[in-house]
């Protein structure tokens, strides 16, 4: 199901939670809503689900206006951060709930419901735990039950609110892959909210980045990472060293660094350089100098932390085979292979 959000506005008291948000989600797409806390991403998800109603704008399912339709009428699957499993029901009864509450001809027979529950529990790899209660499951298992429960109604769209936020790192990683697998197996349009950029970039087909109730950029993971359209996205997605300075005649200058800035208008600007886009400069070609403080080799990279003469902390990352070249307390000249410069 295609979901269209058109110029949606929502305020809580005097505080605007969503400001003129428009977004198209294609049928079968897996989209991440990424942003810092308070950016409005959860509010947007709840507006799509019908758990909140916007003051202005439209929410369309296909070409049907659902802006003020009840959550019950939308047939969404919603997965909560804290699972929200029905604690007094077994796992199987939890998963069956969405089918149990149907009425009349719409309601499947008991054996059909049981078959569907089994199928879903197998899909989330909890086949033999149907008779347990939520309190007897681990966090990861509970979230799988929540996922199966949300999928039971054959939702037109699956919505997940920070689905892995309450889980520890290893479980989070494996569930992430699981969600991708389940999405590919069912083909259901899926929108999930996260503040974890790694999660968003790794899992989603497209990422929408929100800040202060507005969408900053929507794009494929590599697009938002490699071609950020603004300072917020550049600083938020991926690691970056930030420099504040000014552009004059196609050059960016700050106290610490000098960079080429073709096509950027003269005036105050911010520049970003990602740690792995620094190289050790040949003498005379340096963009900046730093005094190294800490050299840490881990995995495929060696990370070098240091301070510029102006006292700004810089992080740089190099291929591991260069590890031998760095020591702490040394003066190091760096050049930037690539930088992002935005008028402030």
């Amino acid at each position: 199901m295609t979901i269209s959000i058109r110029s949606v506005e929502k305020t809580f008291g005097r505080y605007p939670a969503l400001n003129q948000v428009s977004l198209e989600i294609a049928d079968g797409e897996l989209l991440a809503l990424l942003g810092p806390s308070g950016s409005g991403k959860t509010t947007l998800l709840r507006v799509i689900a019908g758990l909140e109603f916007p003051e202005k704008g439209q929410v369309l399912y296909g070409d049907q206006d659902m802006t003020y339709a009840s959550a019950a009428a939308r047939r969404v699957g919603f997965v909560f951060q804290q699972y929200a499993l029905f604690r007094h029901m077994t796992v199987a009864r939890n998963v069956a709930f969405g089918l149990d509450v149907r009425k009349g001809a719409d309601k499947p027979s008991k054996s059909e419901i049981a078959d569907r529950v089994n199928e879903l529990l197998n899909l989330v790899e909890l086949g033999d735990l149907g008779n347990r209660y939520p309190a007897q499951l681990s966090g990861g298992q509970r979230q799988r039950v929540a996922l199966a429960r949300a999928l039971a109604v054959n939702p037109s769209v699956l919505l997940l609110d920070e689905p892995f936020g309450a889980l520890d790192a290893t479980v989070r990683k494996s569930l992430r892959k699981e969600l991708r697998r389940i999405h590919d197996a069912t083909g259901v349009t899926t929108i999930f909210v996260t503040h974890d950029q790694e999660e968003a970039l790794e899992l989603a087909d497209r990422v929408a980045i929100l800040n202060n109730g507005a969408i900053e950029q929507v794009g494929k993971p590599h697009e938002v990472h490699d071609e950020p359209i603004g300072a917020f996205v550049c600083g938020f997605v991926g690691e970056a060293n930030r420099f504040e300075g000014a552009v004059k005649g196609g050059r960016f200058r700050s106290a610490e660094i000098e960079l080429p800035a073709q096509g950027v208008a003269d005036g105050a600007a911010v520049a970003f350089v990602r740690p792995h886009e620094f190289t050790v400069a040949t003498p005379g070609q340096e963009s900046l100098f730093l005094t190294t403080e800490r050299v840490a080799s881990s995995g495929p990279v060696v990370r070098v932390d240091g301070l510029t003469s102006g006292g700004q902390r810089i992080e740089a990352a190099f291929s591991r085979d260069l590890a031998g070249r760095f020591g702490s307390g040394e003066r190091l000249g760096l050049a930037a292979q690539r930088s992002y410069i935005f008028s402030a």
Partner: protein, 281 residues
């Protein structure tokens, strides 16, 4: 190594013994001794006279009235408590803090004042007095007044029990139910009600115990008409003032017995459903 290792926050043995002794003396003299006295005085002349006192027509009438009062009060306050807790725990609205304070009012007002309020409103000289007399409706010095006064005094019990429980449970489960197509009513019966049933039962027990035992407010509105408007606690007082000690203590013992039964039920509930108290998951 002659000294036993002590936990850093553990008190020395003599201090523990002293504190325990103080608690024990206090409990025995203030709680247990009076209870024992009640049963002792009731049975002073043997079981026969005690049972006879309870079997008296007036005593029977007072027991009936107490049971009727509780039977009306408890369901009413259960319904009110669920509504209030639902509104307070699951919704945001202006004046919420004020409503919570208002629910506590019966705890902070003297029951006598509560009784007087109803006399002033519904009594012969009260606001609605003339109208009520005109239409031949008796509130004060009749069962409706007694029920009203009892409802007033006992209405915080169930609401107070449910509000923290429902607040702690949040609205996620209800939202999940609604998002899967359940109606509001269905969500309440399938999700909310099972989650609060133990807290509700607990509140009902406390409310019931207090409804049966209420004296002050009921005393003001009852008029002490024997066989008609005397509840058990009022009957105890009348018998006592008439120097019928065996009768007074026999009825009092019955009330104590109800209290003990309530406590046993409550303890039983906590045993079967230990995780139903707030703070678990």
């Amino acid at each position: 190594m002659s000294r036993r290792m002590r936990h850093p926050t553990e008190d020395p043995a003599w201090a523990k013994a002293l504190i325990l002794a103080i608690v024990a003396v206090f409990l025995v003299s203030v709680l247990i001794l009076p209870m024992v006295t009640v049963f002792f005085e009731a049975l002073r002349k043997g079981l026969g006279p005690a049972l006879e006192a309870i079997a008296q027509e007036d005593a029977q009438a007072s027991i009936r009235l107490t049971l009727i009062t509780a039977a009306i009060t408890v369901p009413f306050n259960a319904a009110f408590g669920i509504c209030a807790a639902w509104a307070i725990a699951k919704h945001q609205f202006p004046g919420k803090a004020f409503l919570i304070t208002l629910i506590d009012l019966p705890f902070s007002v003297s029951p006598v004042v509560a009784g007087l309020i109803y006399v002033l409103v519904f009594g012969a000289q009260g606001w609605f007095g003339p109208w009520l007399i005109e239409h031949d409706i008796k509130v004060i010095f009749a069962i409706p007044g007694i029920v009203l006064a009892t409802i007033f005094v006992t209405f915080p019990f169930i609401a107070r029990e449910l509000i923290p429980l429902m607040q702690e449970q949040g609205v996620d489960e209800e939202e999940a139910a609604v998002s899967m197509g359940a109606s509001g009513l269905r969500a309440f019966w399938s999700v909310t009600a099972p989650n609060i049933r133990w807290g509700l039962l607990y509140g009902v027990l406390l409310c019931n115990a207090r409804a049966m035992g209420e004296f002050g407010a009921v005393s003001v509105v009852s008029g002490h008409i024997r066989g008609l408007t005397n509840t058990m606690p009022l009957h105890v007082e009348i018998l006592y003032n008439e120097y019928d000690f065996v009768g007074a203590f026999a009825v009092a013992a019955l009330l104590c017995f109800l209290a003990i039964a309530t406590l046993v039920l409550k303890a039983g509930l906590e045993l079967i459903q230990p995780q139903s108290r707030p703070g678990r998951h």
